[in-house]
């Protein structure tokens, strides 16, 4: 057991070192969410504004954008295991006495830590877009971001555990990240849209993560996903994400152990 913990910390430590050394990556994971926030905010703000009482569109979108930063960072960090394989570093890890399961867990912990750092930096934008923020909000956000990023890095790892080449990366980006992103209620509320869209969004676990984050910022008036007549609270949503995360991570570990 001690070896699993050592593995987790060694691997997570390296992820963080890499993150610190890789400025472009740090930059790029901010650029897309911020561009979306600005462009969509300005473009749709006035059109969609009336749909939600009490908040303007940019306020509505902001919690989603925060989650999007976490989403991109976590999934990408998870998939980075493909890079490790391609550039040979994975071999160094695999011949060491480190535990295989610990390697993936360490990757997930590293990814989550990075995602939370990125998320924390995004919090600076909250006052600018008029989203109320205080210590209580931040403390409530932390566990949510942690659960969400662990679950999503599990998704990235699951894809990466099986993927052999970087070419798959681009495809993955388009087939996985974009659908997850657009079907998660980042840009519009999941109820009151076309039925198929609503159904798909409610099947997407990320929707609940984002909704929980939104509830922390804006309260239940503009948030809350209703499933079978039950409106999901923060804790309900967190449980959904956590459960999906456990499944994703264990499947990823299983796939990785079988593969290597």
């Amino acid at each position: 057991m001690a070896i699993v913990f050592r593995t987790i910390w060694v691997i997570a430590y390296r992820e963080l070192l890499r993150f610190v050394h890789d400025r472009p990556r740090m930059f790029s994971s901010f650029s897309m969410p911020i561009i979306f926030l600005i462009i969509f905010g300005a473009g749709f703000g006035r059109l969609i504004g009336q749909m939600m009482p009490g908040v303007d569109y940019i306020q509505f979108m902001y919690p989603g954008i925060l989650a999007m930063t976490v989403l991109m960072t976590s999934v990408m960090s998870g998939v980075s295991i493909v890079w490790d394989r391609e550039f040979g570093f994975l071999k160094e890890v695999l011949v060491s006495p480190l535990s295989r399961s610990g390697v993936l867990a360490g990757k997930a912990v590293g990814a989550a830590t990075i995602a939370i750092i990125q998320g924390a930096i995004m919090l600076v934008l909250a006052p600018i877009v008029n989203v109320p923020i205080n210590l209580g909000t931040v403390l409530a956000l932390l566990p949510l971001l942690l659960i969400l990023s662990l679950a999503l890095s599990g998704l990235g790892l699951l894809i990466g555990a099986r993927m052999r080449s970087q070419q798959g990366f681009q495809i993955m980006m388009q087939l996985v990240i974009f659908p997850i992103m657009f079907l998660s209620g980042i840009f519009f509320p999941v109820s009151g849209v076309a039925t198929w869209l609503e159904v798909l969004s409610k099947l997407n676990p990320v929707t609940y993560g984002i909704d929980a984050i939104r509830q922390v910022f804006l309260g239940t008036e503009v948030a809350g996903v209703t499933v079978f007549g039950h409106t999901m609270g923060i804790v309900d949503s967190a449980i959904v994400v956590a459960m999906v995360g456990v499944v994703l991570l264990t499947t990823a570990i299983w796939a990785f152990n079988r593969q290597e």
């Binding site: 070896i3 050592r6 060491s96 052999r164």
Partner: protein, 323 residues
């Protein structure tokens, strides 16, 4: 004491039998060379010894630990330098070594002095804060050797340690390896297909099509060729071959218009041969056998002749990737 004992290792990838029952042992402090053309099963054997692959049958022990049942003890006792680089390009040399130290649980008070000692030995101390993507191929290889030694392994595996490096760098790497062996009483298990490099080994195993076809010291292997190598060129090579086979009872081989055969005490044989040979000789040469000759004799092929089994090799690689 034997640090590696392999008995009857077999590895099958589906239909393909990459290793067909290989046995050998490596002593403490020995440089053991594993030779053979690409696709002969060298890398597969190494991967089994370092627990990256499970053998289909057979047994192997490294530093007294079973490679199937005691993986982590085996991993702790070996250092590895792979054919392809396995460093983290985004980190510095020092960070790569530290990661390794933490991964192998090297205590901090041991790690720092050891790290310095090895980087100095590999002449990389001044560049320790440089990122790997600024390193040359030779520097990377030296760093990987340093990394492989960081946790005081009993055996260092070098898989084609000087592949793709220039001759000067190759020589330097060999100086380090000899130095190391003296300092740490380390066994070195290496694969190569550079024949000149194999001359550094105490004992050599030659592998071909998944089997070891010879295993001995370099001198003994060369003796096995059957004396010195005589190469001649004549006006009529076909007639010469007939004569050599009939009258002289040699087994000549012909390559690029040059006939070669082996004979004991070549110096004494030459004058008699020149005066007695009925055909006109255009050229004649005498040399001690090289490993190349050993290889040719044992496998009937030149070690660099890889076209023959390039298909096989591609298959192997495709399979290796999947496993």
């Amino acid at each position: 004491m034997d640090v590696i004992e392999a008995s009857n290792i077999v590895k099958r990838f589906g239909e393909l039998e990459a290793v067909k029952g290989v046995s050998f042992s490596v002593k403490e402090g020995e440089i053991f060379g594993f030779l053979g053309p690409n696709g002969a099963g060298k890398t597969t054997t190494i991967n089994i010894l370092c627990t990256l692959l499970k053998p289909t049958a057979g047994q192997a022990k490294v530093n007294g630990h079973d490679v199937i049942k005691e993986r982590s003890q085996v991993r702790q006792s070996i250092g590895l330098v792979f054919q392809e680089p396995s460093l983290d390009d985004y980190l510095t040399a020092e960070q790569n070594l530290r990661f390794h130290g933490y991964a192998y649980g090297v205590p901090r008070n041991v790690l720092e002095p050891r790290l310095k000692e090895l980087l100095e030995m590999m002449e990389l101390w001044d560049r320790r804060k440089g990122k790997i993507n600024t390193y040359s191929g030779g520097m990377k290889r030296r760093l990987e050797i340093a990394r492989g030694l960081l946790h005081h392994p009993r055996v260092l595996f070098l898989d084609e340690p000087t592949l793709g490096l220039d001759p000067q760098t190759r020589r330097r790497i060999w100086d380090y390896i000899h130095d190391l062996r003296k300092r740490e009483n380390l066994a070195i298990f290496m694969t190569t297909h550079y024949m000149d490099e194999a001359e550094n080994c105490d004992r050599i195993a030659i592998m071909d099509y998944g089997r070891t076809v010879a295993l001995d010291t370099l001198e003994k292997l060369k003796d096995g060729v059957g004396g010195d190598v005589i190469s001649i060129k004549t006006e009529d090579n076909e007639e010469a071959v007939r004569l050599l086979e009939g009258q002289y009872k040699f087994k000549p081989s012909i390559e690029n218009g040059i006939i070669s055969f082996t004979v004991y005490h070549g110096e004494e044989f030459l004058p008699k041969f020149v005066s007695g040979f009925p055909l006109r000789l255009l050229s004649i040469g005498l040399r001690r056998p090289t490993l190349e000759d050993v290889f040719l004799k044992l496998t009937g092929r030149n070690i660099r002749e890889q076209e023959v089994d390039s298909m096989q090799q591609m298959k192997n690689m495709a399979r290796m990737r999947r496993h």
